[in-house]
């Protein structure tokens, strides 16, 4: 099993945003303002090991992301519904990239369904984490490897 580093998590996240939504994001290296409200989603995976990928994003980021996916103006985006849906789907897509990166040639991992979670369910730190920014908004990804044991 390959491990996930902050660097390749950032690469996968940036690639996902560019390929799926044509959102051009850049890695953020400075410390985040942790007081800024964010919406969060997670997706679990299982296979030779188990874990969770979390994505958290500011409303500004989600507005830009949803607007780009839909081809509409940011002012026309409902961030509660469309922004949250975009966040869930992005968790799904980055999760898919993570399990492929972990697998090498043969993928034996499976993903669960992405779901929205409250901020207090997102860990403060993780085995790998990255933050990217685009259009004044911020997206944070955390990879949590919860078990090295063989999954049932």
């Amino acid at each position: 099993m390959n491990t996930i580093t902050a660097s390749n998590l950032a690469e996968m996240t940036i690639s996902m945003l560019e390929r799926t939504a044509m959102v051009l994001a850049e890695p953020v290296t400075e410390e985040l303002d942790r007081t800024e409200p964010m919406r969060s989603a997670r997706i679990r995976y299982r296979g030779p090991s188990e874990g969770v990928l979390f994505l958290s994003a500011t409303d500004q980021f989600l507005r830009e992301l949803a607007a780009s996916l839909l081809g509409v103006e940011t002012a026309d985006v409902n961030v509660d519904t469309q922004g949250s849906d975009a966040l869930r789907e992005m968790a799904n897509i980055v999760g898919g990239s993570v399990i492929l990166a972990m697998s090498g040639d043969v993928c034996e991992y499976s993903l669960g369904l992405p779901e929205l979670v409250a901020a207090d369910q997102v860990p403060a730190s993780a085995a790998a984490e990255c933050t990217v920014a685009a259009d004044g908004g911020v997206l944070r990804a955390l990879w949590v490897q919860s078990s090295a044991a063989q999954a049932a």
């Binding site: 690639s15 799926t20 996916l69 839909l70 799904n92 990239s97 492929l100 993928c107 499976s110 369904l113």
Partner: protein, 127 residues
Amino acid sequence: MNCNVLIVDDSPILRMAIRKVVRLSGIEDDRIHEAGNGREALDVLETVWIDLVLLDLNMPVMDGEQFAGELRKNPDLNDVAVVVVSTEGNRDRLQRMRDLGVVEVLRKPFEPEDLHRLIPKILGVKK
């Protein structure tokens, strides 16, 4: 293009994004149908002739694999072209989908152009 396309995905925003690309491929908007899971997709297929299904795999209620299984059991529907559009990377599951007759797998993340190229290819092959 006089073809009907069914987009099956539990994410409304992704269905809308895919619909946009399908339209750009020359399919008229009223020929593009949507379903949020496999069960809803089977309901659509009972009422509309569909030429191409763009199918997500991980969905609540009825997932893409169950849907493809139901489709193949139905002699009226088992020649409908199905393309998987999913994050799925599990080798065994993708092989099961091919065994169920899936003609192509488009892995997310994909560029709109990837889907734009695929649609006429699949519909052309089908003709």
